[in-house]
Subunit: 294 residues, 2 copies
Amino acid sequence: MAEFKLDPAWEKDIAEKQEFVNLWLERLLPPEDSVPVELHEAMRYSVMAGGKRFRPLLALYAYELSGKDPVSAVRPACALEYIHTYSLIHDDLPCMDDDDLRRGRPTVHKKFNEAIAVLAGDALHAYAFELLASSGNSRLVSEVAKAIGTYGMLGGQICDILAENREIDIEELRHIHSHKTGALIRVSLRVGAILAELGENDLELISNYGAKIGLAFQIVDDILDEISDTETLGKTAGKDKESGKATYPRTVGLEKSREMAEQLILSAKDDLSRMSMPADVFHIFADLIISRQY
Amino acid sequence: MAEFKLDPAWEKDIAEKQEFVNLWLERLLPPEDSVPVELHEAMRYSVMAGGKRFRPLLALYAYELSGKDPVSAVRPACALEYIHTYSLIHDDLPCMDDDDLRRGRPTVHKKFNEAIAVLAGDALHAYAFELLASSGNSRLVSEVAKAIGTYGMLGGQICDILAENREIDIEELRHIHSHKTGALIRVSLRVGAILAELGENDLELISNYGAKIGLAFQIVDDILDEISDTETLGKTAGKDKESGKATYPRTVGLEKSREMAEQLILSAKDDLSRMSMPADVFHIFADLIISRQY
C-alpha cells in the first residue's frame, strides 16, 4: 500500500471528531437500565465496541463544507453508524457469516444470544430512522432507506452470500462490493451534503467520490483479510478464504487489487477537485483508506 | 365470544378495501425478476401470503374520516403491512418462536433459508420507511419508528421471549401484549389520522381506541391459540402452550380473558363515540375483533 503520513493538525481534528461522535452515539442510545434492559445492553455493547466511526465522520465533514456547526447534523450522522452496526450484527449471525469475533470481542449472538442479536439489529435499524426523521427532512429518510435496501446494501449482502463457493467475475464482485459497502458510505456523504444544502453539482461530485472510496474501502478490506492477522484486525482474519467468499485478491490477485483501489482513489480525488469549495479532509480520507493497515 | 353479524354493505366495503390494499401491496413490491431475485421472491412470498391487512385498513379508514380519497394514503398504509410482515418473518425464525407454518404455508426460513429470512425481514423494514418518507411528512416516520422500536413492538417481542417458561403476572403480560401487538395497531390509526390532518383531540381518541383494540386483538389471539385447531388458524395452534409462552388464558383463565377483551372493546367504542365525526367502520372493527374465529 502507498505510504501516507497524516498531518498532525488533521490527525487531531479527526480524533476530536471521532470523540464527538462517540459521545453522541453513547448519549443518544436508550439508557441501559431502561426496559427492555437486555436489548438496550446489546445495542450499547455493539455500538460502543469502537470502530472508526467512518460513516458519521463523512456525514459531519460533508455538512461542514457549508461552514455550519456540526452539532445540527449529529443525529442523522449517528443514525448512519447505528445502521452500520445493525448490518454487522445481522451479518455475523450463524445463518449468515457465522462470525464469533468483532472488534476484538465476542459478536452479539455469542455474548448474548441469537434472538437478542436479531432484535438488537432490528432495534438499531428502527432507531436510525427515528433519528433521521428528527431532522424534519424526509428526503434523508428516503435516500438512506433506498441506499440500505435491496437495490443497495441488502442487495449486496445477499449477492455476497449467494456467491459463496462459486466462481464469479470482477463485474459481479464489483456489484457486490459497491452495494454491500459502497451504498451506505455514499449516502453518508449525501446525508451531510443534503442537510448542508449543497448545490446539485457539488452533491453529485461528492456522491461519486463516496461511491469510489466506498468500493476502494472494501477492496482494501479484502486485501487486509488476506494478508493481515486476527490480532491486528480485531476480527477473524483469513475468514473470507475459509468461507469460500469471493474477494478481490482471490479474483484478480493481490497486485491487481491494489492497483484497482489506487485507481479508484485517484478518480475520487479528481471528483473532489472539481467541487466549488475546498474539501481537504476528503483528500485525507482517500489517502487514509488506501494506506490503512487494519 | 360474542355473536356478531356483519352488515352486508360494510362487508362489501371492507372486502373491496382489502382488495385495494392487496393490489397496492403487490404493485409496490420490487419486481420478482429484478436482482436480487431471491430476496425479492422472499419478500413477495411473505407479504402476498394473505392476511387480513388489518393495519393498512385501519390507516386507510382513519384517513377517510377526513373525506379524502384513500389513494393518497396508500403508500404509508402499505408500509405498515410490510413492517408487520417483517416482524412475523423474524419472529418465526428458529432462534425466536421457531415456527414452521404461517398462514397455512411454510415460513420464509423453511421455504427459502434462514439467511434469506433475516435479510427479507430487513428489506421490508427498510422499504417501509422509504414508503413512509414518500409522504414528505417526517412525523409519520418518527411516529412509526418509535412505535416499532424498543419502547414499542420490539420491546414487546423481547419481553415475550424472556418471559417464556416463567410465571408472570397480568400486568407484565399486559405490558408485553400492548407493546408487541398494540403499538403497531395504534400507530396505524395515527398514520391515517395524521395524514388526514385530524385535530389533536380526535387524534388522541382514535389512538386510545387503537391501543385498546390492539390489546383486545392479542388477547383473542391467545384464546384462539388455546381453543382452535391448526387447520382453522393457518398457523400452528397450541404453540404458545407448547413453548411455555405466557398467554392471557394461561394467566387468568379463558373466561376472565374473554371478559377482559370485551371490556377493552367497550371502552374503545366509548372513545369512538366522543370523536367529532362518525366513525362507524371502527365500531365494526371492534365487533369483528371480539367475534373473530381465526
